[in-house]
Amino acid sequence: MKKLLALALAMVMVLGLAACGGTVTSTETPAPAETATTPADTAAPADAAPATASAITLWTYPIGGWGNEETVKALTDAFTAETGIAVTVEYLTYADGDDKVNTALTANQAPDLIMEGPERLVSNWGANGYMVNIADLFDAADKSELNAAALDACFADANTAYEYPLVMTAHCMGINLNAFKEAGADQYINTETHTWTTEQFISAVNALEAKFGGTVGAVYCSGQGGDQGTRALVNNLYGGTFTNAEHTQYTWDDAKNIQALKELYDLKGIAFDPSLVGGDEIALFYNGTLKMAFCWNIAQQLNPNSADTGAEKTANGDDIVFMAFPSEDGNAKLQGGIWGFGIFDNGDQGRIDAAKQFIQFMCDSDHTVDAVRAANFFPARTTVDAWSDNPIMGEYNKLMPMLGDYYQVTTGWAQARTAWWNMLQQVGQSDGSEAAIKAAVDQFCAEANAGT
């Protein structure tokens, strides 16, 4: 009995310890000093005005600085100051964000606003009937000012838009210049145009492998995170395609992609690594383990690994050069990234209106430039001048004309992505024969097409 009492006491103690910090400050009405930093969180009465909700929630993926609490807070605070609408922000990761949103949707507890790209907002959650049509937010001026490709991707059809684009970029590769020089592989890259051919890429990988041994570049495939990199790599090597031009069918079972996969499998310096996703790959590149990253873009270039340790530098200070993906003629078709906001339909007009205000504040106002700069990407609105003072952005602009087809809005996209990384895993675990690779590609491409 006493022992049990002691045990209970222990539990109470743990509870007490944890609560200890609370009792110091647990006043019924928190002192202003405490609340000053978080006005949005304190005693927020909901539904003050019936017209527009006074509090909304935003879930954001780590899109440049939009994954950083401090950066986002500055932006939402400005919005709250102007409109009186409080914004609660949750930060998702690419590793578990989709699962979280899908769980919340299953539970009818989706956030009001979501920040990501058309591949999720339009072709997944929009197509599944969870998003609000925000076509009314685009007037004629917007339509002329916004980048045509971005605009097009955000519209499911002529009258239905599920996303308002904020920023965009071209995805590319990053290479560790110091390592390339050390291995004598810098002769294969053109740092002026940031392009290279398939042949040069193969020579570079072999040179790096000879110098450093082991894996110098990883075809990561633990999940879908960062798969734009692996898709672009495979498609560009020998000019394969991912979907047809009409976006009605997945075409990655073509012979050129199989050839590319076989080439990657055979390269000693390249490993199919089913223990990594894009984020892990960047981290390994950043700490010098990998000599090239396939999951790269301008936000990474400006702030590698979001580590705030200086632009264009790895952890140990090596120079990072961004490169287009290698292709036979050196003219790559890069994958576009488009990011913006969409609204989940929670059936509450007040909250939808408040969310629309938020979108206009971020994407169509004087504050847009801050929202864009926070993201470390290029503005989707051509009239916004966010980066003219930044030479790295200027240099990166060289890649933008290489933007290829934005095919991420093909029907059944979510399932196709899943099929893609499963295919890469199977290729990586196979014996590498052309027949085995073809079998894997055929099987999963058929699976992807089953969803269209």
Partner: protein
């Protein structure tokens, strides 16, 4: 008990009411959060139910179940699930019995030191244990590769969790380290409770150590063994965090378990009805397994 003098009717009523009232709080939770969802699970499994709000659920009878047996991933997941259970349960039992019999006659302080060490992974918490193992197994700078290379066992880094030959075993090893703590504690006390005079008497009769173990100790610790079987089985079926955080079922479905595949089907493939059908099948298998275990328990 059954042949008690016929209970008066009032007494029987009182027993009934009291029984229900005592059951009530527990039943609210049990029915509310286990039974009802289970019923709904069976119900939805007959529908083509998905995440799309624009298409209503369609009743399709046993189509989901029929598809399951043609789904190679499900078959693989089922196989892996049973490999995990049928490997880890006996290994846990044997290993913990071995540790317990090696330490139960040691000095108290030394024994409890060992007991604490083997119990540590349990209290460390599944996620904390998982993330540290992820680091240990890491292909590029994990300590395991470093150690094995240093000892000359391997000459090239092995991607433990990224290679279909090793991934499932990597998971099982972690599961084992988090499973043996409690069985060891149980066996130590069970062995300690075996009447020493019985063993001595046997030894006087010329029984060897092994004989006295099988003839005397083993039958006496049988109830403990059965209890350990039950809790280890439950534990092995709960192995989700390991899969989700380490491999997501990969590579090439080598570590896919039914538990993870249900989650995957629901939130990556958006097929709720199909996922539920999987759940029902798994529940049936587990029900059968439990029935066998309890039959065993009754017989002893």
């Amino acid at each position: 008990m059954a042949n008690q003098p016929s209970m008066s009717r009032a007494l029987a009523r009182r027993e009934n009411i009291a029984g229900y009232l005592f059951m009530l709080p527990s039943l609210i939770f049990f029915v509310g959060f286990v039974v009802i969802p289970m019923v709904l699970c069976v119900y939805t499994s007959f529908f083509d139910s998905n995440m799309n709000q624009n298409t209503p659920d369609v009743f399709i009878g046993f189509a989901n179940y029929a598809e399951l047996w043609k789904d190679p991933v499900f078959i693989k997941a089922l196989k892996n699930t049973f490999i995990i259970v049928f490997v880890s349960v006996p290994v846990v039992c044997i290993f913990s019995l071995w540790v317990a019999s090696a330490i139960y006659r040691m000095k108290d302080s030394i024994m409890s030191l060992f007991r604490i060490i083997f119990y540590l992974p349990v209290v460390t918490g599944s996620v904390a244990v998982t993330v540290v193992w992820k680091w240990i197994y890491n292909n590029y700078y994990g300590v395991l590769n470093y150690l094995l290379k240093g000892m000359g066992v391997i000459d090239q880094n092995i991607n433990w969790l990224g290679d279909q030959r090793f991934a499932l075993w990597g998971i099982i090893i972690i599961l084992l380290t988090t499973s043996v703590g409690q069985p060891i504690v149980l066996y130590v006390s069970a062995l300690g409770n075996v009447d020493a005079t019985l063993v001595e008497a046997a030894e006087v009769d010329g029984a060897s150590d092994l004989q006295s173990f099988w003839k005397i100790r083993w039958p006496l610790i049988m109830p403990t063994t059965l209890y350990i079987l039950v809790i280890t089985t439950i534990n092995s079926f709960q192995c989700f965090a390991l899969i989700q955080l380490l491999t997501s079922g990969g590579p090439n479905y080598a570590t896919e378990t039914v538990m993870y595949y249900i989650y995957y089907t629901a939130f990556k493939l958006y097929r709720f009805g199909y996922g539920n059908a999987m759940g029902v099948i798994l529940a049936i298998f587990i029900g059968l397994l439990s029935a066998v275990q309890f039959r065993l328990a009754k017989e002893t």
